[in-house]
């Protein structure tokens, strides 16, 4: 082999290359056999490994698909059952205004309607006194301190509606009902038109669950509790008419901030826990626990530190437990410490009620009623104050001095609860010489 590049090679290189090639002989038959067997084993192992990889890959794919399906299922289930966030609750009042603390004030004499943005509405009859409490996320509470309210609650399992009626607490399950409380006669009445409610309070049977069409009447003075089947066709049992449920609510579709009441923020600031503690205890009929708290802390200390709400709850509990001295002290403390409270005038009327139960307190009761009528001639207790004054004056001095009061009452409240008594008194007074 003679090529152009041979010229650069030394003889030694050519010799060494030839020797190298001779030394690097072809493989022997034994070496080839060994190599072939090794190759076959290696290929077999490779094929097995590939099959195993395919099996593992398939298994992993199937497992992955199953996991993905399970994860999707769990996610969709969680999405389905995840409680949606409650929209903030807001309300407005038709026919009235909202005072500080959520107290409702009637503008005219035709009652008022509290409309909540999620559809719930409270129709308060003329003269009814109520309060909308600061709203918690999953709870709403309305207090009917006196009078009659027709309630239509939009069912929502995420929100509990509590209606505080005098010493009773109505837990609403999504329903339509009418409730009333007469603090003078200490009479509670609830007519359930649709749904279900649970009433708790000073009931001998503990909590009472009512079903559609039932009427609960409780007379605390006579300690009577009766449940009857209500005649729902009887208009008198319905209280004020409940507005049509399908009627669109002005504030319903609006967010809470955009639908404030006319004279007060729609959502009041959160109240303190102690404010509601005795109120709830009172509503649940736990008067003794309130009085025990007072006895434990000391009457003077309690009267000096308790909130306005607690003082009223204490006064009620003391009245119900026939402790007029304590009730009087609580009311006087409320009058002294909270003279500008929306309930400051109520104290005057309630002091009159307390004095009636004290021995020789009739004249003092009349004086408290007079003061109330002078300072709140159109107040929610005006009719009751005038009626009680008439009754006590008749009791104290006979029908003659009570006659002008009866005439005044019939002029101002011709269909009031004392109208019948006033007419009877006038009839008697007319016969007297």
């Amino acid at each position: 082999m003679t090529t152009a590049d041979e010229g650069q090679e030394s003889r030694a290189l050519r010799e060494l290359t030839a020797l190298y090639c001779e030394g690097m002989a072809s493989p022997t038959a034994a070496e080839l056999d060994r190599g072939r067997n090794a190759l076959l084993a290696r290929l077999a192992a490779h094929r097995e490994g590939r099959r195993r990889r395919v099996r593992w890959s398939s298994a992993l794919c199937v497992a992955g698909a199953v996991c993905a399906l399970v994860a999707l299922k769990i996610a969709s289930t969680m999405q389905r059952y995840r409680p949606r966030e409650l929209p903030p609750l807001a309300f407005r009042v038709d026919g009235g205004t909202v005072l500080e603390g959520g107290y409702l004030r009637e503008s005219g004499h035709t009652g008022m309607t509290v409309l909540f943005n999620e559809g719930t509405r409270f129709a308060l009859a003329a003269g009814t006194r109520g309060r909308v409490h600061p709203m918690a996320r999953g709870e709403a509470q309305v207090t009917i301190e006196h009078g009659t309210a027709s309630v239509q609650v939009t069912p929502d399992s995420r929100r509990a509606w509590l209606v505080d009626v005098g010493p009773f607490l109505v837990t609403v399950k999504g329903t339509v009902f009418t409730v009333s409380w007469d603090p003078l006669a200490e009479q509670f009445q609830l007519t359930l038109r649709r749904g279900r409610v649970v009433v708790s309070g000073p009931l001998s049977a503990g909590e009472i669950a009512l079903r559609t069409g039932q009427r609960l009447e409780v007379n605390l003075a006579r300690a009577e509790t009766t449940i009857t089947e209500a005649n729902l066709e009887d208009g008198a049992s319905r209280g004020p008419p409940v507005p049509d449920r399908e009627e669109p609510l002005p504030g319903k579709a609006k967010p809470a901030r955009s639908a404030p009441p006319r004279e007060a923020p729609a959502v009041a600031a959160g109240g303190s826990g102690s404010d509601r503690r005795w109120s709830l205890a009172l509503a649940r009929g736990r008067w003794d626990s309130i009085l025990a708290d007072v006895d434990r802390a000391g009457v003077e200390a309690t009267l000096g530190k308790a909130s306005s709400e607690d003082l009223f709850a204490l006064a009620d509990a003391a009245r119900y437990r026939r402790r007029p001295e304590l009730a009087r002290a609580a009311l006087l403390a409320a009058q002294r410490r909270f003279p500008d409270s929306p309930r400051a005038l109520d104290v005057l009327f309630l002091l009159g009620r307390v004095e009636e139960t004290r021995e020789g307190g009739t004249a003092r009761a009349i004086a408290w009623y007079d003061e109330y009528l002078a300072r709140a001639p159109r107040g929610p207790f005006a009719g009751e104050a005038l009626g009680r004054k008439m009754t006590l004056t008749d009791k104290l001095g006979g029908p003659a001095p009570a006659r002008p009061i009866a005439l005044d009452y019939l002029r101002r409240f011709p269909v009031g609860s004392y109208a019948k008594s006033a007419r009877a008194l006038l009839a008697v007074a007319g016969r007297d010489p």
């Binding site: 090679e9 030694a12 060494l16 290359t17 190298y20 030394g23 002989a25 080839l32 072939r36």
Partner: protein, 179 residues
């Protein structure tokens, strides 16, 4: 072969393994490494045989695989020697019946000189001088231009001659001491 039949594997090994193993021994100077490369070449062959369009070109197909594997192995060996400063294995298993004991020492030295060449130059030298391939065949096999093959060959021959001349034992060949 495409179905991976055992008989086809055995037949391909019988026909082409001597060519691959001999080339690998000459290129690497190591019988053990040559066997590893041979196994690798045939394994790769059976994995890639489906890409063979013309069954008649199977021999050059295998040869191309072998050259690629040898080039990679020589590069790895070079890199290893640089990184760990260890001399590569030299002519283990050289034991040919036709080579005497003194010649083995000479060939080990010569193999050491071949290891000093760059991988491409060494492969060109092996194909050109030991496999007796033409410049055109070497260029086609290694996918190089003919001029590159000629330059690589000239450089390899020049360096080897110079290194041989500088070695007293190997230089004795020039003076005819071996004859």
């Amino acid at each position: 072969m495409m179905a991976g039949s055992t008989w086809a594997v055995a037949e391909a090994w019988r026909r082409y393994a001597p060519m691959v193993l001999t080339l690998a021994r000459r290129a690497l100077g190591s019988q053990a490494e040559a066997e590893d490369v041979g196994q690798e070449v045939f394994c790769r062959l059976f994995r890639k045989v489906k890409s063979l369009r013309d069954p008649e070109s199977l021999r050059s197909f295998i040869y191309a695989f072998a050259l690629r594997a040898l080039k990679s192995e020589l590069r790895r060996r070079k890199l290893r020697s640089w990184l760990i400063m260890v001399k590569p294995e030299v002519l283990v298993g050289l034991g040919s019946r036709t080579v005497d004991f003194e010649s083995r020492d000479i060939l080990r030295k010569f193999s050491g000189l071949l290891d000093r060449l760059p991988p491409r130059a060494r492969l060109v030298f092996v194909l050109r001088r030991m496999e007796a391939m033409t410049v055109e065949e070497v260029a086609a096999s290694m996918e190089l231009s003919e001029s590159t093959v000629k330059r690589s060959m000239a450089a390899a021959a020049s360096r080897l001659s110079r290194w041989i001349a500088a070695d007293p034992d190997l230089a004795g060949l020039v003076r005819g001491e071996w004859e």
